[in-house]
């Protein structure tokens, strides 16, 4: 048999293999409306100068189980917060924001930094994202990067 590489081996054992469904994290789904609401909350906090509140609000509510549109919307919200903080502070002040986050929030921040780097708007603001990235990893070490790569709860 010459085309043995193209045999669908899973068809021989249909029962016990992992499906994409099995790998979806066991978390409640998040609706689009909730994320729109959070986006408004963050904008309000930013306009009243409460930068850290806006940042933690955005990082505490990543939609892990949601459709692509919802995930992109939240990524834009986080990006907006990061831009706003950077535009109102010096680069060295970013470290102060990172230290105020707990380790879960730091992990989520790194996930969104990577996600933003892959988008059109993120490419235009590459310097901004890299300075956030540098300041974050300086404080946290390599852990959040490792978790960005391994975590099945994608943003």
């Amino acid at each position: 048999m010459s085309d043995w590489r193209s045999i669908d081996i899973y068809a021989l054992e249909p029962e016990n293999f992992l499906t994409k469904q099995d790998l979806i994290p066991d978390l409640p789904p998040v609706s689009h409306d909730v994320i729109v609401g959070i986006s408004q909350q963050c904008r309000q906090a930013l306009s009243s100068g409460q930068f850290i509140v806006a940042l933690t609000t955005a990082l505490d509510t990543p939609p892990y189980v949601a459709d692509e549109a919802t995930k992109s919307l939240h990524a834009e919200t986080v990006f907006e917060v990061l831009c706003s903080i950077r535009n109102n502070h010096s680069v060295n002040d970013l470290s102060k924001f990172v230290t105020q986050l707990d380790s879960t929030q730091q992990d989520t921040l790194v996930k969104y930094l990577y996600k933003s780097m892959g988008t059109g708007y993120g490419t235009k603001q590459g310097g901004l994202l890299l300075s956030w990235f540098e300041k974050t990893v300086e404080i946290t070490g390599l852990g959040p990067i490792v978790r960005y790569m391994t975590d099945r709860r994608t943003v």
Binding site: N16, F17, L23, S103, G141, G143, T150, R152
Partner: protein, 379 residues
């Protein structure tokens, strides 16, 4: 006490094991297993066990030291015994009945059976059948759906934990009727027919599990994940949710192996090339210390400064001569380093990932790495 270092070639060592009397060392090397006599200062190669066609993934020595167990990607496992007449090790094939690579093998603490994990989503529990004079196996199948990466036996030789690539650590009963005596009830349960699932835990991120380990009493289970975290579970009896599930996140590179020193102390190691000790109880675990002093790879690495102006550094004519001579002899070149060659090495003993840690003595562990070293550390 400074670590004892055995440099055994430069091929990766996936797993190593010392015999119970600490006089013999077995390591996996490509398709073979090498046995070394380490009773004197220099390790002496005793013999090479050749019997597998593909990479040997795991090796273990039975608790009485008489049998060596190997398993390989060629889907087979072999039990090697020394034959005094012919003065060599003879293999016996194990009837595994798996269709994909065997990934890990472990003898039970009582030495009467062993477990083989495979990427066929099966754990085979193997035992000796005297009638036919071979090792036969029973399969643990449900609810496994992914490759088994690691196994660990409970001290009672009935319960078995396994970690897999779907991020689950599971505890099964591997009770073989007629071979095992009825086990005492444990924190994991009291009724234990074969294939009972006594616990199923998933880590937060769903990352691969690289290693699992029972504590010395068997009343706690710990596992290391590819997301650089450690999970520790304290069970609470049959069909009850566990008393406590802890997840210790770290900011290191992922860990490949974990060993309990005592109920309250574990050692982990992996891509960081260093061993790290954690201490704690049911209430919480935290990092205690690193076994070796280590320079931070992201901060003060001398190579960063070097590589920036690599092309501008002038080298003396003597260095240049050596460079070309090396190129001629070996077909490759190590650029002469103005600060000396040592600046290019890691500050730890292991120069690459630690693949496997085992308990050596009460306060010593042995490690093997893909840099071809086996090292005994005091911790």
């Amino acid at each position: 006490m400074s670590p004892t270092i055995y440099q055994l070639g430069h091929l990766p060592i996936k797993e190593h094991v010392f015999s119970p009397d600490r006089k013999t060392l077995a390591i996996t090397k490509a398709n073979t297993v090498e046995l070394y006599d380490v009773s004197s200062a220099r390790p002496q190669l005793i013999t090479t066990l050749k019997g597998h066609d593909k990479t040997v993934t795991s090796v273990d020595i039975s608790p009485d030291g008489s049998r060596i167990l190997t398993c390989s990607q060629d889907r087979n496992a072999l039990v090697w015994e020394y034959n005094p007449q012919e003065q060599e090790y003879k293999p016996t094939l194990v009837l595994l009945r798996i269709n994909r690579a065997a990934t890990v093998c472990k003898w039970s603490p009582n030495g009467e059976k062993f477990a083989i994990g495979s990427s066929d989503r099966i754990v085979a529990i193997c035992y000796y059948e005297a009638e036919n004079d071979w090792w036969i196996s029973k399969h643990l199948k449900k609810p496994l759906k992914s490759t088994i990466t690691s196994l660990s036996w409970h001290p009672n030789s009935v319960l078995l934990s396994c970690g897999s690539t779907d991020g689950h650590a599971r505890v099964f009963s591997a009770y073989i009727k007629g071979l095992d005596s009825k086990p005492e009830p444990t924190a994991w349960g009291s009724k234990l027919p074969f294939q009972t699932l006594c616990g199923d835990f998933i880590n937060e991120t769903g990352a691969w599990i690289h290693d699992v380990a029972f504590s010395p009493s068997g009343d706690a289970l710990a596992f290391v994940n590819h997301d650089a975290s450690i999970g520790i579970v304290y069970p609470n009896g049959q069909d009850q949710p566990p008393r406590s599930i802890l997840n210790v996140k770290t900011n290191y590179l992922p860990f490949k192996s974990i060993v309990f020193l005592t109920e309250n102390k574990i050692v982990v190691g992996g891509h960081e090339c260093n061993l790290i000790v954690f201490e704690g109880t049911e209430q919480g675990w935290k990092e205690s210390y690193k076994v070796e002093k280590q320079k931070d790879l992201t901060h003060d690495n001398p190579r960063v400064a070097d590589s920036l102006n690599d092309d501008d550094v002038e080298i003396s004519s003597h260095d240049a001569l050596n460079m070309f001579r090396q190129l001629d002899l070996k077909g490759k070149v190590n650029k002469p380093n103005p600060q000396g060659g040592a600046a290019r090495a890691l500050s730890t003993v292991h120069q690459n990932t630690i693949s496997n840690i085992r308990l050596y003595a009460s306060n010593q562990v042995s490690t093997s790495g893909i840099d071809g070293k086996v090292v005994v550390f005091s911790v």
